[in-house]
Amino acid sequence: MSLSRVGVYVCHCGTNIAANVDVARLAEFARSLPGAVLARDYPYMCSDRGQALIREDVSEQALDRVVVAACSPRMHEPTFRDAVRQAGLNPYMVEMANIREQCAWVHDDRARATEKATRLVASAVARAVLLEPLEERQVDVEPGVVVIGGGIAGLAATLTVAEAGYSAYLVERSGSLGGRVRELDRTYPTLDKVQVVLRELVSRVAAHPNVTILLRSSVTSVDGCVGDFTVEVKTRGANLGEGVDASRDSQTLVVGSVIVATGFDPFDPRRKPELGYGQYPSVITTLELEQRLAAGDLGDNGAAPRRVAFLQCVGSRDVQVGNPYCSRVCCMVVAKQARQLRGLMPDAEITVYYSDVRTFGKGAEEFYDETRAQGVLYRRASVSEIVRSQNRVRLVGEDTLLSRAIGVEVDLVVLATGMEAGADSASLSAMLRLQRSPDGFFLEAHPKLRPVDTATAGVYLAGCCQGPKGIADTIAHAKAAASSALIPLLRGSVQADAATAIVNPALCANCGLCVEECPYGAPALDPFRGVATVNALLCQGCGACAVVCPAKAISLQHATACQVLAQVDALMA
């Protein structure tokens, strides 16, 4: 311990820290700590001058460890790691004491806040003297991407990857590309023909020399980690994919990133039997109407319906069917279809039954205004039941603006069925180690700032597999996933954080608890050596394995038991 030479830097953070903590006293105290050879306080340690101070001291005072008492490490740990690296120290020889968020900002008694800060600093120094240099691993990245799912999200992601110069393997389980969008007639708010745009997109993807399309194919396993995934794909029957050997039904792709674009399933309205779907032919879904509109045949055998009702939120915003969420697109789909029907049947009565109209996208509210102006009636009403009434059906419900029960006879009912997580989400989630949010869709790494990343580096989400989306939001999301997926490829190598778990083989009993516990699939049992090993690139440093290991064979580097206990001891001293 006497060998370590720790430099302690106390940041004022302007007045953020200095107002509530006596920084000069804190620095003076730090000088007295075992291992500390110098301590300074400075207005802003993160400033260029502050960092230069550290660099100068490292070389002139031969510091081998640095403690910065400042803000949260989430904010500036990378800054100070860079600073010591430039001075020739291993970047893991930096420790931060958070005396801002966890001290100065939450206390107003200056004396007691200073006292707390001294303990935080003592604790950081105690840990610092036990820090060990760690080496970050660099792994070369395989220059290709597997995209799972050939809907518009998968197509957009594939095209972006290919255009950036990398191989893209588009794996689609059906026999054709386009997914749900193949069933759509027109876009909103511009009412363009979807199939025209889709055909162009599909042909651009198919024609791109960097793209390999694997139809009637599914991914059966994914192994490895960012930069080096091994993806097994099984193909049923003949494959139309260009350049792929049709005689083989299984192949292995080695790629740097994986994009999941597996889409959604439409809600099955039979789960709301009170609506009579499946029982009455005049009750159909928006998807079915879309197909009829695309085919130019309303399926009415020429007897144009005189009265049409659209019901919003079928299977959405409905905890009874387990879907508390909004499906995001139905309001505009209904507005668009109602407008199309209005054009086809100028004399029909078209009514939309809603509880909130959610026309939020670009041009959407304007579209809703125009839909009403063209004579589509919006009624704030909930329909609780649909019953037969001679050759029509009768909607029974309440008009909440009239505050009274209503019964309306109609010729055609269109149910705006929502979106649900795909039926295969569970198996995909296990295979790709993807977490799912309570709504069943795949969970993104952060709901605000990382909407396409996942907890597994190298695996990204595109489109409705992450949550319901319209076409524009899906395309943006898919291109965003492509951006994330391209970054490691363009860099050529990835660096893994060195603060990962390691196994002491001498202690390991090969019990496999760590393998079960790890959410990232990092540990594995080595069948030859009879011990567990941890893939450093998959390990996220969460420490779950270290905790469950009954033999204490696993330790988390940069948070070893020794370091943590020294920290706790200093805090309690």
């Binding site: 953070c13 302007g14 007045t15 400075y42 207005p43 802003y44 400033s47 001058r49 904010m75 500036h76 990378p78 800054t79 220059p143 290709g144 255009e163 950036a164 990398y166 191989s167 393997y169 909103y188 511009t190 960097n210 083989r248 192949q251 792709l253 790629v255 915003r317 508390p324 969420y325 026309t359 939020f360 996208g361 670009k362 041009g363 509210e365 304007e366 909440t400 603006l401 949010s437 709504d439 700032l449 909407p451 396409v452 992450q466 319209g470 076409i471 524009a472 939001d473 395309i475 943006a476 999301h477 898919a478 291109k479 965003a480 492509a482 951006s483 391209l486 970054i487 363009l490 050529g492």
Partner: protein, 468 residues
């Protein structure tokens, strides 16, 4: 990391611009990130919490801000504005496929003087303390609720952390003198103050441009019936954000007229969905931030009566409806009907509305009214559009190539849109769009640097192994 020749320009360093710049820089390309303000972070830096997870906005944003500022591939130009853009060539790329174009642009950026040397300034703040204008200048960042000096940082976590002298309020810069000597310069131990700094021009060559210039908020005075500006109890959503922010001017204490509010009313669609006095479109974020605001009031004042007036609650994003359910469960009263007027009666404000579900007019007492004001195009959106040769949609926002299938591209090759300059958006949608714009820019830069051919062949060889 490979050094690459191509570079991109990102205009605007809010969350969209920051994210786009980070993706491009992480991919190994050079990025010029141009921000008009002295610090980056944009609107998101002003927010207290974010919906629906109630993450602290600055806690998740500041690491991104420091990452972009620290990134070796990012050239951060604050206090800077693009003044001209010239498309140099639109050469056909040999390798990029039939008819693909790899444009390049000559961009001129005007860099306003900061009068403080970045890197020398330690951010200690002694200058602001000494400034003779201290407490006399309205803080833009705090929506005018707090006052600052003529030399200032917009907020404590500002990146870059360097003070700025505001030309419009500095005594020396406006009237030529400041007592016998400059108070700020006298106070600065680091010697960072430099009144000799002058405007400079930076000329950049780039292969892709991402426009991420954000949005403005409508002045609620367009709806005079709400008495904004007349009643101190009536404030905008953004003002409310600053008031409840722990790092805001009141350190998060929500006091109105010096008292804790007990009757709080939220009014949505102030200007939005309102072609009569505001804008025809929906501003897309107000329903959710209002739900968040209502929650924050409930969190502070368990006994407060909280009313949210609405016409349609638009809780459409991931976890949003669930959050709306939660907020109602916390005893926030949602009443269907938009308030029509506010006036003072016997000292209290009365909010007049019709509860359209009851079918009768109601008068709700309020000691705090929060107006969810519409997001509108930047006042200089026409200038930006003209500068780049972009179109604008009927709503005044910048126009994308196709609202459904090409949401980030523009009619111009090599120019892309990110975030709210294209239309109102919440943070995740802005981030997704920013990353999408970055992907498009990366494609353009790959083409421009002629990387395509080599990659393509190696990809086919290395990327796939077929096993028996």
């Amino acid at each position: 990391m490979t050094e690459r020749r191509s570079a991109a320009l990102v205009i605007g360093a809010g969350i969209a611009g920051i994210q786009a710049a980070l993706d491009i820089a992480d991919a190994g390309f050079h990025v010029h990130l141009v921000e008009r303000e002295p610090a980056i972070g944009g609107r998101m830096a002003q927010l207290d919490k974010t919906f629906p997870t109630l993450d602290c906005s600055s806690c998740i944003l500041t690491p991104k801000m420091s990452a972009v500022a620290r990134h070796p591939n990012v050239d951060l130009l604050t206090l800077s504005e693009v003044v001209s853009v010239e498309t140099l060539k639109a050469s056909r790329c040999e390798a990029g496929g039939a008819g693909e174009i790899a444009p390049s642009f000559h961009v001129r950026v005007r860099r306003k003087p900061r009068y403080v040397k970045v890197g020398v300034c330690t951010g200690c703040g002694l200058c602001a303390d000494a400034c003779r204008m201290k407490g006399r200048v309205s803080s833009e960042f705090d929506e005018g609720i707090a006052r600052r000096s003529a030399i200032y940082v917009p907020f404590v976590q500002a990146v870059p952390l360097a003070y700025t002298i505001d030309e419009s309020s500095c005594l020396n810069l406006t009237r030529g003198s400041c007592g016998r000597s400059f108070a700020c310069a006298d106070a600065c131990d680091a010697g960072a103050i430099d009144f000799a700094e002058s405007e400079t021009v930076a000329d950049l060559e780039v292969n892709a441009i991402i426009v991420a210039t954000g949005f403005d908020l409508i002045d609620p005075r367009v709806k005079p019936e709400f008495g904004y500006g007349q009643y101190p109890e009536v404030m905008t959503g953004m003002e409310f954000e600053r008031l409840v922010s722990a790092s805001g001017p009141t350190a998060g204490k929500l006091l109105v007229n010096g008292r804790e509010p007990s009757d709080v009313v939220f009014i949505k669609c102030v200007g939005s969905r309102d072609p009569h006095s505001g804008v025809p479109y929906c501003s897309r974020v107000c329903c959710m931030y209002t739900a968040k605001h209502a929650h924050l009031v409930r969190d502070r004042f368990p006994d407060a009566r909280i009313t949210v007036f609405y016409t349609d609650v638009r809780a459409f994003g991931k976890g949003y409806e669930e959050f709306y359910d939660r907020v109602r469960g916390e005893g926030v009263m949602y009443r269907r009907g938009e308030p029509s007027e506010i006036y003072r009666h016997n000292g209290k404000l009365l909010v007049l509305a019709e509860d359209t579900l009851l079918g009768r007019p109601v008068e709700v007492e309020a000691d705090l009214v929060v107006l969810a004001t519409a997001a509108v195009p930047r006042a200089d959106a026409p200038t930006v559009a003209a500068l780049l040769g972009l179109d604008r949609s009927a709503d005044g926002f910048l126009r994308e190539a196709d609202p459904a299938f090409r949401p980030v591209e523009t009619a111009l090759p090599g120019v892309f849109l990110a975030g709210c300059c294209q239309g109102p958006k919440d943070i995740p949608d802005s981030v997704a769009q920013a990353k999408a714009a970055a992907a498009s820019a990366i494609v353009a830069m790959v083409r421009a640097s002629g990387m395509v051919r080599g990659r393509r062949s190696s990809g086919a060889q290395v990327g796939r192994r077929t096993e028996s």
